[in-house]
Symmetry: C2
Subunit: 112 residues, 2 copies
Amino acid sequence: MGLSKSDFFSEEQNELAAMLKALGHPARVAIMQFLVKQSSCICGDIVDVIPLAQPTISQHLKELKAVGLIQGTISGNAICYCVNPDKINFLQAAIGEFIPLNQACDPNSSCC
Amino acid sequence: MGLSKSDFFSEEQNELAAMLKALGHPARVAIMQFLVKQSSCICGDIVDVIPLAQPTISQHLKELKAVGLIQGTISGNAICYCVNPDKINFLQAAIGEFIPLNQACDPNSSCC
DNA sequence: ATTCTTTATCGTAATATTGCAATATACAAA
DNA sequence: TTTGTATATTGCAATATTACGATAAAGAAT
């Protein structure tokens, strides 16, 4: 159906999935990397760095903003985007929970 | 177009995005959480835990397997899935790089 | 006021994803 | 060999995503 049965899953599962999904596109990964590299939020030149049309970039930024991974504030003419470290920390911790602490069989064993 | 211009982006960007995308669905998040909770790869009962039809679960497992996040080995009749900690570690490190080290403006400043 | 610059929105075509019923495959058990 | 159990594949309908041209909106600069 193309629609996930998000009603069943928990709030946490849905939010985590939404954030991961937002990052699950090379253009958005590239945007994040660029913003971090700037180490400041003097922005507006993302379009020059990524070979996608301006409306497309705007759309990708919107998606990253929607899940809180980046923030944008109006600065006169331009808009100033920067990464929200809190969300990244949350993501990193959530991913860390996917590491099995005491996995009974290691990936090289006969089982896995 | 629905097709990302993945030719432009680097191998790393594409691979990272693919892994994040694979996790970007609540059902697949739930599968990962279940596999980790098992702390062993005695599997086969994922279908009982997640309210999706067996072919749908199989498809989700296939996607997680395709990016290497999980591994499955045939164990007689059933198939034994378990998490690949290496890939999780890779992901966690990659996400960590999204944290701005010396961001010139903090999210509460006038800028961001 | 007009023009330029920057970002957002709308509309839309191409493609991808999600979900499942039906069916296939593969091994185990009887 | 037949039956049962576990997983995969196929086919398809519903929906979502991606990309971009055209256009709008909003402030800056002249």
